[in-house]
Amino acid sequence: MSLILDIAGLRVSLRRGGHLVRDVSLQVATGQVHGLVGESGAGKTMIAKAVLGILPDAVRVSTGSIGFKGTDLLSLSPRRFRALLGREIAMIPQDPLTGLNPSRRIVAQMTDTLRHHLGQSRGEARGNALRLLQEVQIRDPEKVLDRYPHELSGGMRQRVLIAMAFATEPSLIIADEPTTALDVTVQKQILRLIRQMQERHGTAVLFVTHDLGVVAKICHQVTVLHTGQVVEQGSIDHVMSNAAAPFTRALMAATPRYDQPADALHPVPEAVHQTLRDAARTFDGRNP
């Protein structure tokens, strides 16, 4: 099991001052799914964007490194980085509708990647696209290839996007809340599919989500974030049954569960948030 992604001391800062991600380190090995959990503003999406090199203009990586199979992505030239992106690092977006170009057929969008990154011919790429759709268990893949995104259901679109992510046999896939927009029954199918594909191809996955339930079902390792800081990190067993950080424990207690009555629900105490906010402030004081 070799290390695919090795983020060390990553600090993402606003250009006009202030930090969004505060010295985060995490590792993802071959065949592992690493969950990045947190609420809005915790910095989880910023970390994913930093890896993909798509940070907004107002934001930059100020210190730290993002090691990918031994090379620091941050030191690569834009050209070499682009060659890696899509070929070695792929993503599954949150919104299955906006993740696809509405005006192009599925086949065109799928073969683009194959032809561009793998230099396949048109016929070859179509054959491979078909094989990929079969692999993600889409019914009638022949017909789906010639459809437009709006002709597919949300779950089908997400399957297409998963097929596209795995098309180039990447070593790392960044999945940004890939099931948030789906109904629960579809979510389960999609989670199962991501797990199957990832196991079959031995892909490392950085899985961004706000849902501890989803994390429990699909991740091997977890990093819990709050205000851009790592509050808890470890194996899924450790985090689910043995969490040390007050925030992780509070978050678990604040997650409603259909198998527990109402009085089992306890909102996260304000003091827990405040302690972490204070820690962030102290960090900023030390690292202007």
Partner: protein
């Protein structure tokens, strides 16, 4: 007061389906909410769960009369508000408030928080003086845990959770008796969500508020609801006390929904576990192309109408003569005798877009098994009921698979499970249909085709004119079949008689058989 605070009977809401609008004229209507009944007592809370397209949001909007219901009745506090005009509604609205889904769009960006919360107070004449109304708004903001200091702020200056608190403050400002809350925590972080849920729980207890809580999230519903209603395709598939529904779901769809919720618990088997309900998947009627056999009369005829009402895109209405016409242009008459191999082959070719096949055609000669003079009748029953249905399945299974999956519905009978001496050979043919249906279900399990067996009791058609009452109305039977299909019940027992017999067979098999043997 006596009686429920809110009483809903047979509520149906149909809206125009713009996706199928013709070039000229009105788009066809589709049922968004279909035959909903519910009672809500004072201080009680009802959770409505369902996935997208289940009609839960439309139902909520119907209840506060944002949408006018198409049929049925809504009584609130004893007053019939089904067709009440806005003028009649206004004094009622004080007691009947709503909290909306999207706190971003439900607050007017050009008004201050104070003005927003005071608006219903003034317009519903809870206070007539502006200053008093604003004071009441301040109190409501305090009550909603936001603090009246926020009254001067604008919505865009607030976080998502704070905006939702404004929505709550607006709803409680008139001190209503019932609040309908539609997906009010779906966009919020877990820690904010828990706060909002706790707040609603407090309000419910302190103000004696009744609550209808609509959500796609079963876990969230569990927190607030005493009663739960599970919706699918505009209908209720299961309802009952929250603890009963969540701990012992009866319905396949409810089980599937519950099993799909990822609890924050490690469960290595969860991802691989098959969906509840065995091999049978639910089928959606809306947008399907359906072929129904034997539509010249009886149940078949009713099937055509109800399929159209449920939003079927096209219905091939097969009759032996191929005649007949229908007012709805989605109906295509087909000539099809299911004992004719040529007819079946032609139908499979001509109706190549079928996604749902309803094998309804069948005959009954009231023949006894051992009567030698009725051997021909017995053979004919077998040929039509069993072989005809089998040949239809054989011809259409590949058609349906080619079209991306769908459903096959075989009309058997409760007589498939218990033989009635008066019509022994019919019973045998129906038992064959039932057995064959189970076999086909297994063969098609992995190909996305749901296979349903329908086992109704006596239905009031001319085929059963010799059969003594009680007989169910064909319309009710078909409605239950469609609901059962959408709910994913593999074997559908429509009507009280069928349910009774099937229940009896499970509990006291010899007793039922003895009773049936003596029947007629």
């Amino acid at each position: 007061m006596t009686g429920p605070l809110l009483q809903v009977r047979d509520l149906t809401l149909s809206l125009p389906d713009r996706s199928r609008a013709p070039l000229f004229g009105r788009p066809p209507l589709v049922d968004i909410v279909n035959g909903i009944s519910l009672d809500l007592a004072v201080g009680q809370s009802l959770g409505i769960v369902g996935e997208s397209g289940s009609g839960k949001t439309s139902l909520g909007r119907c209840l506060v009369r944002l949408y006018p219901p198409t049929s049925g009745t809504i009584r609130f506090g004893g007053t019939d508000i089904t067709d009440a005009s806005e003028a009649v509604m206004r004094p009622i609205r004080k007691d009947l408030q709503m909290i909306f889904q999207d706190p971003q769009s439900s607050l007017n960006p050009r008004r201050t928080v104070g003005q927003i919360v005071a608006q219903p107070v003034l317009a519903l004449s809870v206070e007539t003086d502006r200053r008093a109304a604003l004071k009441r708004a301040d109190a409501a903001l305090d009550r909603a845990g936001l603090g009246h200091a926020f009254a001067a702020r604008y919505p865009h200056e607030l976080s998502g959770g704070q905006r939702q608190r404004v929505g709550i403050a607006r709803a409680i400002a008139t001190e209503p008796r019932l609040i309908v809350a539609d997906e009010i925590v779906s966009g919020l972080d877990v820690s904010t969500q828990a706060q909002i849920l706790a707040l609603l729980n407090d309000l419910k207890q302190d103000m004696g508020l009744s609550l209808i809580f609509i959500s796609h999230d079963l876990s969230v519903v569990r927190v607030l609801a005493d009663q739960v209603m599970v919706m699918l395709g505009g209908r209720v598939v299961e309802e009952g006390a929250a603890s009963a529904v969540f701990d012992h779901p009866r319905h396949a769809y409810t089980r599937e929904l519950i099993d799909a919720v990822p609890l924050p618990v490690i469960d290595p088997e969860w991802l691989n576990a098959e969906q509840a309900g065995g091999g049978t998947k639910m089928a959606e009627i809306k947008g399907q192309t359906v072929l129904v056999t034997g539509t010249s009369r009886g149940i078949g005829k009713v099937f055509v109408d109800q399929l159209l009402a449920a939003g079927a895109a096209k219905v091939y209405a097969a009759t032996r003569s191929g005649g007949g016409s229908h007012a709805d242009n989605r109906v295509v008459p087909v000539k099809l005798d299911i004992t004719s191999a040529t007819d079946i082959a032609a139908a499979a070719r001509d109706c190549a877009d079928v996604t749902v096949l309803v094998n309804n055609a069948g005959i009954n000669h009231n023949s006894k098994l051992l009567a030698t003079d009725q051997a021909g009748a017995a053979a004919a029953e077998m040929e039509t009921n069993y072989l005809g249905t089998l040949n239809m399945c054989r011809a259409f299974a590949p058609v349906i698979t080619d079209n991306g999956g769908g459903a096959i519905v075989n009309m058997a009978s409760i007589l498939a499970r218990v033989n009635l001496p008066l019509m022994g050979s019919l019973c045998a043919s129906k038992a064959a249909v039932y057995s064959m249906t189970q076999g086909i279900r297994a063969e098609l399990a992995s190909q996305g085709v749901a296979v349903f067996a329908v086992l109704p009791g006596a239905v009031d058609t001319d085929m059963t004119k010799d059969f003594p009452p009680p007989k169910a109305a064909p319309a009710d039977i078909v409605a239950e079949v469609l609901a059962g299909m959408q709910a994913g019940e593999a074997d559908i027992y429509p009507g009280d008689m069928a349910k009774g017999v099937s229940g009896g067979l499970a509990a006291d098999r010899p007793g039922v058989i003895a009773e049936m043997a003596g029947y007629v």
